[in-house]
């Protein structure tokens, strides 16, 4: 049967980024921590340099040989899959928080994104209460369904295909306030935009 389009899994796979840094550690120092500190200065994170220093770190003690193929685990905040507020480390001014982990690997002088979870939790009464972007390692069953990269809009059982991001892009996306800005009315379907 004719498909009419290239399978979504193939189209999503083409969005896999290579990050232009020397190593996963370089990415932590140069990009992620700098971005988070800027977010603190812009009032998008309600923490200080101490929390970034303590909770945004990297585990890169692999035994892989040669060493420049080492994968590393970049973490932001403690593991918190039950979303307990007491375990929230990278808090946001709205009462929510951000947490992430990403597996990164050197490739061709840059850094390849192998897998990630990046989750933003909003205020308790917000709907959705949380949103999480997942990217699984290669070879997953999800590959076949175009779901290796997907987003959960506040429900672990609901997943929609998503492009493959670099972790800092997701952090930027999720720290920005959701929804329309205060100066813009929420738009209803069919609304005509006035000049």
């Amino acid at each position: 049967m004719k498909r009419w389009v290239t399978p979504v899994s193939e189209r999503i796979a083409k969005t896999a980024p290579l990050i232009d840094v020397r190593s996963p550690r370089d990415y932590l120092d140069r990009v992620i921590r700098t971005q988070l500190l800027n977010a603190v200065n812009e009032g998008m994170l309600a923490v200080g340099p101490h929390e970034i220093s303590r909770h945004v770190r990297i585990d890169d003690q692999s035994k892989q040989v040669p060493p420049d193929t080492h994968a590393a685990d970049l973490v932001g905040g403690r593991r918190n899959n039950k979303r307990r507020e007491a375990l929230a480390d990278l808090r946001t001014p709205d009462g929510g928080w951000l947490s992430f982990s990403a597996v990164l690997r050197p490739k061709d002088g840059k850094v390849e994104v192998v897998a990630y979870n990046v989750e933003r939790v909003y205020r308790r009464d917000d709907c959705p209460h949380w949103i999480r972007f997942d990217f699984s390692p290669p070879g997953h069953d999800n590959d076949q369904r175009g779901m290796r990269s997907h987003v959960h809009p506040g429900d672990d059982d609901l997943q929609l295909p998503a492009p493959i991001f670099a972790p800092h892009e997701l952090i930027a996306l999720l720290l920005d306030p959701p929804g329309p800005s205060d100066t813009r009315k929420p738009r209803a379907k069919g609304e005509v935009e006035r000049p």
Binding site: S53, I58, R78, R79, V103, A115, D134, P138
Partner: protein, 196 residues
């Protein structure tokens, strides 16, 4: 003299806050005697230019400070503190932006006795810097514990399932493999049937 212990990122953030003041910071460092890592971290965070110099005596210290007056200066002095004659040089170390004097960690406790006037001038800007990029072992163990609980498996059971190709790898599984130093299993195994 009070010494504050800070991670390198946190210390760089603190220095950048004061980058336009004429303050000196004294930093004891064990793992970064030339101040290279601290300079890099400052470059990522600062709006001003960061310039690195080395000093082995009072002359090179003063020169290093003077030709970097408008930048954030990182002056590494991996020598005994006495060689720098800090009290004598104090008036020649006036700056228009922040200066960071990196000294060996074992020299830091001697600062107040070797250079009491300089120490009083820098006030509470005396730091011992630590590496803060690597996940502490306790934090790594906590993450592993969380993964075992979430998936109801021991590390050994998890690895056995991955090695037998029985598990569809989720993002958390990738993290688990890295934490167990088994990132060699991240790529899909070539099944016997698929081999040429």
């Amino acid at each position: 003299m009070s010494v504050t212990i800070l991670g390198r990122f946190e210390l760089a953030s603190r220095i950048v806050l004061d980058e336009s003041t004429s303050s000196w910071f004294v930093v004891g460092s064990e793992d970064d005697p030339n101040g290279t890592l601290l300079s890099e971290q400052l470059e990522y965070l600062a709006d001003k230019e960061v310039m690195t110099r080395s000093a082995t005596d009072v002359g090179s210290l003063v020169r290093g400070s003077r030709d970097t007056r408008d930048a954030i200066a990182v002056v590494a002095a991996p020598v005994p503190l006495d060689d720098l004659h800090l009290d004598d040089a104090r008036s020649m170390l006036q700056r228009t932006s922040a200066g960071v004097l990196v000294i060996p960690m074992d020299q830091l406790p001697r600062l107040a006795s070797v250079a009491p006037h300089f120490t009083s001038w820098v006030g509470n800007r005396v730091f011992a810097v630590e590496d803060d990029h690597r996940l502490a072992d306790q934090a790594r163990q906590q993450r592993l514990e969380g993964l075992r609980e979430q998936f109801g498996m021991s590390d050994e059971e998890f690895l056995a399932q991955v090695e037998r190709g029985e598990l569809s790898l989720e993002p958390e599984h990738a993290e688990w493999l890295v934490l167990l130093r088994r990132d060699d299993l991240l790529d899909p195994l070539t099944k016997e049937a698929d081999k040429p």
